[in-house]
Amino acid sequence: MILENAKVLWNKKLGPSYYKVGLQCWNSHLDVVPGQFVMIRIPGQMDPLLRRPFSIHQTLIDNGVVKGLEVLYQVVGKGTARLSKVKRNDLVDILGPLGKGFMIPRSARMVFVVAGGIGIAPLFYLISNLEKTRHDMHRPVVFLGGRSKRDILCLEELSKKGLNIHVTTDDGTYGKMGLVTDLLEKRLEKQLPDMICACGPSAMLKKVAVLSEKYNTRCQISLETTMACGMGACLGCAVKIGNGKEKYAHACVDGPVFDLDRFRL
């Protein structure tokens, strides 16, 4: 785990409300599992007060060593608006990598990746990582959903990888009009993967959960909750787990990626 002031390498605008920030880390022991996150704050500021959690979108590798990371984010409030203002060479305080990421079993050959909007942030890293480390696997099938064309992220990079990509938008400005889960179901009728990996709005995740049960497919989802510490100390990030009995897990240490067997949405 590192806690340091990382140097901003770039902070690129990708559309009306999306940005990518590249951060150079000094510590070289940066082992990242896709799905893990970092807690970020701008040094010396008391407002916003708390760090904000962001998935690791990419690691920046130099001579085989992880030298930094990239975060893909959407401006939704105070903290993300402040982050969008940082410039090259500014310092950003990061804590991480934190939490449990995606665990793709050795036996898995085929993965379906389902992303809603900014949910592609950790999944892009998962896809790149599988491409690099799992030559035994088929290429993942990718489902990207968004409200509108501008909410479909990483399309160019994913296309370059030569992947099978299914796109939907709510307003029909790109891809098929409708919900990403409709396309997922169509595909599931024809082919069952060994694992579905999903991240996105909670309504989408709920549908994915229903589908994974209906088609009896394993599924891992990355959840968003409010977090204060990101390291298991505040117990603020509770999410309900278990069937029937009310029990809570803590998204920052037990997640943010959860296996759906353990979880009830």
Binding site: M46, A233, C234, L235, K240, Y248
Partner: protein, 313 residues
């Protein structure tokens, strides 16, 4: 006394315990300390106060449990904890390996509950002290917090005192009309020290959905937003009790901690700051040391309670 030519003496005494320095961690903001082990040297802390424990595990409140507010945060964790048995089995072995005194924060649902838990802890050698959280609801009295009524506060503290000879700190609630009255009653009941303040009850509303931002509706406010209130209460209490007072509330930097020490707190606790900067306690200890060095002050006790208030007022 300067133990080394340059290093000021930071030791302070709270009851029968000597602390290396006056900086403790506040309950509920530092987990069971092991979470911070990769980031800081836990042996440098004055004391570690662990997450509030009860006799039996508590699952806590439904989410959302936290929300940020201007310069502060509201929490409604609902006292989730693993219970004393699991604490002893799973957390204590690690805590034993640290040279810093461990203080266990406790709460109960009844006076007997508090007393039984204190009795259990009294026999555990590795635990240096007990901090009693009296800000939680008294179920048998309709859910009003124990710490709001001077007599109930007295009864809880006396029941705990009867069951332990360990250092007994009582943590006061700020959600009262007269904190001095409660402080005096708690002192009379046998507390060795007081810590204040716990969180201030507050709430926040989402105007779009017209729903409370916390599932529990209300929660406890902490962070820099509450520091002036905490400081004022410490100021009122230190002049009215003889036992040491530990200042808590919105301490982020060494300067904040010094405000409390100068006002008369014998030690401080760092809470919400641990979330923002997991190394906050280390920075505060370093900052207090630098402050004393720069002014050639030999020991931290030389600044405690040295607030200069103009007598003409």
């Amino acid at each position: 006394m300067m133990n080394n030519k340059n290093e000021p003496d930071l030791t302070v005494n709270i009851g029968k315990i000597e602390l290396k320095n006056p900086v403790m961690t506040a309950s509920g903001t530092f987990g069971y300390a092991e979470e911070f082990e990769p980031l800081i040297d836990l042996n440098r802390l004055g004391a570690i106060i662990v997450k509030g424990l009860s006799l039996h595990p508590e699952k806590g409140n439904p989410p959302p449990r936290i929300v940020e507010t201007p310069c502060g945060m509201l929490n409604a964790i609902g006292l989730e904890n693993i219970g004393i048995d699991q604490f002893q089995k799973e957390k204590l072995p690690f805590l034993k390996s640290i040279s810093t005194p461990i203080i266990v924060n406790i709460f109960g649902k009844s006076i007997e509950g508090y007393a039984d838990l204190a009795g259990r802890i009294d026999g555990v050698e590795e635990i240096s002290g007990i901090e009693v959280n009296i800000s939680c609801p008294n179920i048998s009295a309709g859910g009003m917090a124990f710490g709001i009524d001077p007599q109930t506060a007295y009864d809880v503290v006396q029941a705990v005192r009867d069951r332990t000879t360990k250092l007994l700190i009582v943590k006061l609630s700020p959600n009262v009309t007269d904190i001095v009255k409660i402080a005096k009653k708690v002192e009379e009941a046998g507390a060795d020290a007081l810590s204040l303040i716990n969180t201030i009850t507050g709430m926040a509303v989402d105007v779009e959905t017209r729903t409370p931002k916390l599932a529990n509706v209300t929660g406890g406010l902490s962070g820099p937003a509450i520091r002036p209130v905490a400081l004022r209460m410490v100021w009122q209490v230190v002049r009215n009790v003889a036992i040491p007072v530990v200042g808590v509330g919105g301490i982020i930097t060494a300067n904040d901690a010094l405000e409390f020490l100068i006002t008369g707190a014998r030690a401080v606790q760092v809470g919400t700051a641990n979330f923002i900067n997991p190394r906050a306690t280390m920075d505060i200890i370093g900052g207090i040391t630098d402050f004393l060095k720069k002014r050639n002050i030999e020991k931290v006790t030389d600044i405690i309670g040295t607030l200069k208030v103009s007598t003409s007022q």
